[in-house]
């Protein structure tokens, strides 16, 4: 007879930190995901009681069973020091560039904008998405398109008149990429972003600055 619930630390064939559940149609539950959903549930009720925790667990298990996610290894690792570093950098950048955006809005209208492609060093989907989100959150460029095959992000940059502004935008993207991967990436990815930025072979067609 099969057991109803199997946990991953007793069964090596299950992915790490998960539980298999059910009798005939067996479903795999991702335990960190359930913990995260329960945490959100408790925070939304904004009181920490046993009733909230238990209903949160029930709801998140039901949600995970009703809308199962594909089984992929995201390659997500949490490095607390790296996350802190990234958060401080993002907040600082938002603050300092707030002044710049204000100046652009009020006085800097005749500037020409441009769309630039910035090749990235990381290859995993999650790191690509996280970098794109982080870049979008700081002033300087907004993401138009992400090429997954070549790991290139395309940015719309407001102040494109001067070549040093463009260079600064590229360097900022690479810096954010490095910080993001250091906050969430696998050791493999971290080693990759420690290297120099990739050569701009994609930007061959643009006029030389």
């Amino acid at each position: 007879m099969k057991r109803i619930l199997r946990l991953s630390f007793r069964n090596a064939d299950l992915p790490p930190l998960s539980a298999e559940f059910g009798t005939r149609r067996r479903r795999v539950l991702d335990l960190p995901l359930i913990a995260w959903l329960t945490l959100i549930w408790v925070l939304l009720w904004s009181t920490l009681t046993w009733a909230n925790v238990i209903t949160g667990l029930v709801v998140s298990v039901a949600v995970c069973l009703a809308f199962p996610l594909p089984r992929v290894d995201l390659g997500l690792r949490l490095h607390p020091w790296g996350i802190l570093h990234l958060a401080v950098y993002l907040l600082h950048d938002m603050y300092t560039s707030g002044v710049k955006v204000t100046r652009q809005i009020f006085f800097g209208l005749p500037h020409r904008a441009a769309v630039i492609g910035v090749p990235l060093r990381c290859r995993s989907d999650l790191m690509l998405a996280a970098t794109a989100v982080a870049v979008s959150n700081v002033p300087g460029g907004s993401i138009i398109e992400v090429r997954r095959a070549t790991a290139t992000v395309f940015l719309h940059v407001l102040d494109a008149d001067r070549p040093e502004e463009l260079e600064a935008a590229r360097r900022q993207v690479w810096r954010i990429e490095e910080l993001t991967v250091r906050a969430f990436g696998t050791p493999d990815e971290i080693a990759r972003v420690a290297g120099p930025p990739p050569p701009p072979q994609l930007a061959a067609g643009r006029p030389a600055p």
């Binding site: 959100i40 925070l43 939304l44 904004s46 009181t47 920490l48 907040l91 938002m94 603050y95 560039s97 707030g98 955006v101 204000t102 652009q104 809005i105 009020f106 209208l109 020409r112 904008a113 441009a114 769309v115 630039i116 492609g117 794109a132 989100v133 870049v135 979008s136 959150n137 700081v138 002033p139 907004s142 993401i143 138009i144 398109e145 992400v146 090429r147 395309f154 719309h156 407001l158 494109a160 008149d161 994609l202 930007a203 067609g205 643009r206 006029p207």
Partner: protein, 117 residues
């Protein structure tokens, strides 16, 4: 003791006001900037910063652990969902030809898209 509370309250109120002002700047930017892509700059970045400042102001006035965690959750989701929305707007605007290519200094994405065809 009550002096400190007063200072924290005032700082919270000031943060609320600054955050609201920054959101207002974003709206003014949306009116003044010429095209969709530039406007998406003004629509997302000042909004996120203003929102975070407003949340920080509210946090300074509420000062209880659970409320702080909820406010942190709001900030987290704001920073996570805002870029996705703005990216989708920018992408669909670009692909449906809402972009004035003469206004752009140069465009590296255009070469890529035409190469792909």
């Amino acid at each position: 003791m009550s002096l400190w509370l007063q200072i924290v309250d005032t700082a919270g109120a000031a943060l609320l006001l600054i955050g609201a002002a920054i959101c207002l700047l974003g709206v003014i930017g949306m009116i003044r900037l010429p095209d969709v892509l530039s406007r998406s700059h003004a629509a997302t970045k000042p909004q996120t910063l203003g929102m975070i400042l407003v949340l920080a102001g509210v946090a300074l006035r509420l000062r209880s652990g659970m409320d702080l965690a909820t406010l942190g959750l709001i900030a987290f989701f704001q920073m996570l969902t805002g870029p996705v929305a703005s990216h989708l707007v920018a992408r669909s605007a670009y692909r449906t030809g809402q972009i004035d290519h003469d206004e752009l200094l140069f465009d590296e994405l255009d070469e890529q898209l035409t190469d792909g065809r």
